[in-house]
Amino acid sequence: MDADSEMFAVYAAQKGSEWAWRRLFEWHFDGVYRFCVALAGGRTDVAEEVTQQVFVVASQRIHRFDPRRAGFRAWLLGIAKNRHMTIRTREQVKERHEESSAKEHSEAFAREGPDLQVHETLARLPYRYRVVLEAKYLRGLSLKEISSNNGASIDAVESLLRRARADFARVYEQIRSLE
């Protein structure tokens, strides 16, 4: 997969291609799920609920997605944040009646910051950098597996990873300085 094929898949899905939608789901599901785990402070039940809602909402609103404004991953993460906020609000209403659990949740929320920044940084990286970083750190693939998947040499993958990490550091610092 490259940036062009993602753009093509987005365009085709906007025109109603079910195949394109399935491709987009496969490409982004793991990354979005990991982001939701971080968003939910490690609570997998909430992460699954948010992830499920992200893809259902995205499938309903994909025709509104404008690639000039953001990348597809960044758009999905934005939906995830909104859905999580909705779930949190709903939970907080319940928590008013269960004050004991409130403190625990607020602590979990406080831990979310750095995790989200990592995912937001990834979403802002150039496509080839994000793909190689996710292949290594999210899916845990070896250099050999990544090189065979991409049809590149191991040296080329190593070099790409170095550049991807350098760019990650730059964007990550930018995000942190803004917040």
Partner: protein
């Protein structure tokens, strides 16, 4: 931020248990079903919008056509008679014209009796009001013609033998 720190950071936040396969399949099934449902609904809505737009365009075109037409004629005015009056012509049946053509043809062929019958036949087809007005105008015309002829005709005496011989002598030089 060092390269090593980045490696640690990414390892720390991205590594972890992958999503359950059952959950992945469920999410894929639900989102795909929603995708198909929404797409069908949008297609149906787009078709309905096109139909409404077509009806609106047709309606506007119809109204535009009606409004651009000249205002309706008042009450019981007979359009045919008005058109005839405006063009200062006389409406006659087409059959009458055909009989006249036939009569002209018989005339050219020298069949006088047949020509007369054709003219007679055409005369029967002449509208009554035209016959009346023609008759009246014919009478007027005849009277007028008669007066004109009378006024124009100057009574002159028949030329005498003397005057003829004078003219001939002047012409011949005698």
């Amino acid at each position: 931020m060092e390269d090593k720190d980045v490696d640690v950071q990414l390892n720390q936040h991205l590594s972890g248990d992958p999503p359950r396969e059952a959950f992945r399949q469920e999410a894929l099934r639900d989102s795909t079903a929603s995708f198909i449902r929404i797409h069908r609904r949008r297609s149906a809505r787009r078709r309905a919008e096109c139909a409404v737009a077509a009806v609106l365009i047709a309606g506007i075109a119809f109204l535009g056509g009606r409004l651009s037409a000249p205002p309706p004629l008042p009450g019981n005015v007979d359009i045919a008679s008005q058109a005839a009056a405006e063009s200062e012509g006389v409406a006659v049946p087409g059959e009458l014209l055909e009989w006249l053509d036939v009569a002209r043809l018989f005339g050219r062929l020298g069949m006088q009796d047949r020509m007369a019958r054709a003219v007679e036949h055409a005369g029967k087809l002449m509208p009554v009001d035209i016959i009346t007005s023609e008759h009246r105008s014919g009478q007027v015309f005849a009277e007028h013609q008669k007066e004109h002829t009378e006024s124009m005709s100057i009574p002159s005496p028949p030329p005498s033998a003397e005057s003829i011989s004078q003219i001939l002598a002047q012409s011949l030089g005698d």
